[in-house]
Symmetry: C2
Subunit: 372 residues, 2 copies
């Protein structure tokens, strides 16, 4: 393998694929990035066996190809090496079979490499009928739901994002059993086959970083894996085994109390009340309606107390006092991007629902905390 | 105590004094900030007994004073509380003796406080004949030397910055015994008394963050403490006990090899060579002259090697090969701010000296590392 390439073109490709490499990985070959230079161009592949990312630089973006070939380069230093190279054009050449020389006029690195024969054979499969979706819509969906996945391995399925497709609807649900986020997207056409898969949350986080919001994404779904394809990048994740719990019936259909609040005022008020509860696990904050006032408060015996008030509109004379985790509330509030917000309530032990006034596509649910 | 004050004026003052509070402190009262409101204005004081910072907000910068008084407010939440207050004007009022109420129209915090009777009595002393120096010059001196203090408590004096004053010269020296930084400043006038004190490095770091570079600083030096005064802030540090080692004779006066290098090229080259040595303690990099070439290299048996070359000028035909810590070299190089740099050498076991071409006031010394 011997070629010359523009530093920034190679860097962009490397930065994308290296996201598949897990810092916890203990299999030496999976710390490497596979460089494959063939008739069509340069393919880079990285994988932690659970997640594989492959990117492609076509021949027309490579300055000069002198010899094709395949080698595995350790990922740990390669990005910094390329980034710090003093010239825009970089030469890369395999020497002695298992060494690579990366050089410009006055700088050269000789790095020990691994044999591509030892690299696992990974099949990146595409289906005949992929779902096509705009990158920005997919990224927004991820941002609005991913934070609510469970961090606890005791219920593995809840660490993933549940993705359903039926007719022309795509629905993403995440829950850690104390809160739930649900986003629905209308697709351009009907899909015959119903789909219900759960994707590991950590992989979805990496996907979000790679996706370009200006381009469409192809989604190829199989029974045990999912593949996202955009531009010259392919991203393949395994799926979590098992049936994701049915969450539809957790969200009430009717509400006794409907509060209309200014989103920024409400967020700032929760943020102030949360200050004194930082050190505790639960971060409990209490809110209480009094006509058109919403009082938000918290209390810590050692530090003191805080009382805050914002102005709201309410559909009923009925009053309510309810407590919840300020962290969960703020996480959920951050997913909305409008001036006003609906807070939907029944009583102090039934779920708090947040949604936009105009748009039903995003629902955030937070379970209240009973304080006695 | 009861007053109304502009949020940003109070914040600025708080952010400065809170730097004196040590996260390691275990004396409860020293986690507090002393608020003292008297005829002249509001004094804020914080201390970890080793370092005391006091700042002053004069009456004309306080919107309204209703009642004078003194109280100790826990430092942990106060800055976030003030910062998150929803209005520019904040009311602060002592209630029930040991509680403080911080409020605006719709938000209020009630915080438990500590009794000012329990706060240590700290004397902030000023001398009759302070040294006066420009803030920017003092900050530059700190930045050019502070990084070389020792991090090891085994030789406590080396964890400090040694400050000498003789005639119209101020000299700062730091060393961890592997490297040394020395900066001299010419003062506006002669000072009769010779001064030689050592200030704890961690306090100097905090001083740097507080100093305003547009204003002059007064320096008041006593046998066991040093006080810096600028604008409405007083910063008092203890001194380290003992006699700082005489370092003058460590810096050679004559050099066999004088190299003239472009600072940025040299730094970038060391930076590239250092990449492969990151994981090791010593970060050993080797440089070797060959006429007008300076070859910089490093080697790691697991990873590979790097070879880099820059163009230099040299005063002699004599060649040299010398090894050193890339980290120490890069730390030292960062203190220079010019295009060209002199690298002064004798042999592979005598100190490497860095200095500017125009200016003798800054000297950086790095001991070489013997490699066999």
């Amino acid at each position: 393998m011997k070629f010359k390439i523009d530093k920034n073109i190679l860097l962009e490709s490397l930065v994308n694929v290296v996201r598949a490499i897990s810092p916890k990985n203990i299999i030496p070959i999976l710390n490497g990035i596979k460089f494959e230079l063939d008739d069509e161009g340069l393919y880079l592949t990285a994988s932690d066996s659970d997640l594989t990312i492959k990117s492609f630089i076509p021949n027309e973006n490579i300055i000069e190809v002198e010899q094709q070939g395949t080698i595995i380069i350790q990922s740990k230093y390669i990005i910094d090496i390329i980034r710090k190279m003093p010239s825009e054009e970089i030469n890369i050449e395999v020497i002695d079979g298992l060494k690579i020389r990366i050089y410009t006029n006055d700088s050269q690195y000789n790095l020990n490499c691994l044999d591509s024969e030892d690299y696992p054979h990974i099949i990146l499969e595409e289906s005949k009928n992929p779902i096509i979706i705009n990158g920005e819509i997919l990224k927004t969906m991820i941002r609005q739901t991913i934070f609510a996945v469970s961090q606890q391995e005791s219920r593995p399925l809840l660490t993933g994002l549940n993705l359903k497709i039926y007719n022309n609807v795509m629905e993403a649900v995440t829950t850690d059993s104390y809160r739930l986020a649900r986003k629905t997207i209308m697709l351009d056409k009907n899909y015959e086959e119903e789909i219900n898969v759960t994707i590991p949350g950590k992989n979805i986080n990496e996907l979000d970083k790679i996706l370009d919001e200006t381009l469409d994404v192809e989604i190829h779904i199989f029974s045990n894996k999912i593949l996202f394809k955009q531009n010259n990048i392919v991203f393949q994740s395994s799926l979590l085994n098992g049936k994701y719990p049915n969450t539809a019936n957790l969200i009430p259909n009717e509400f006794e109390i409907i509060i209309n609040a200014n989103l920024n005022d409400y967020y700032a008020s929760i943020d102030r009340a949360a200050l004194l509860t930082q050190s505790k696990d639960k971060n409990i904050v209490r809110m209480e309606t009094k006509g058109n006032d919403l009082n938000i408060s918290s209390f810590s015996s050692e530090i003191g107390k805080v009382e805050d008030r914002i102005n709201i509109e309410k559909n009923t004379e009925k009053e309510i006092a309810i407590s919840f985790s300020s962290k969960y509330m703020m996480d959920a509030l951050k997913t909305f991007n409008e001036e006003e917000l609906l807070i939907l309530l029944n009583n102090d032990s039934s779920p708090i629902i947040l949604k936009s006034i105009k748009d039903e596509s995003l629902i955030q649910l937070i379970l209240p905390i009973k304080t006695y």
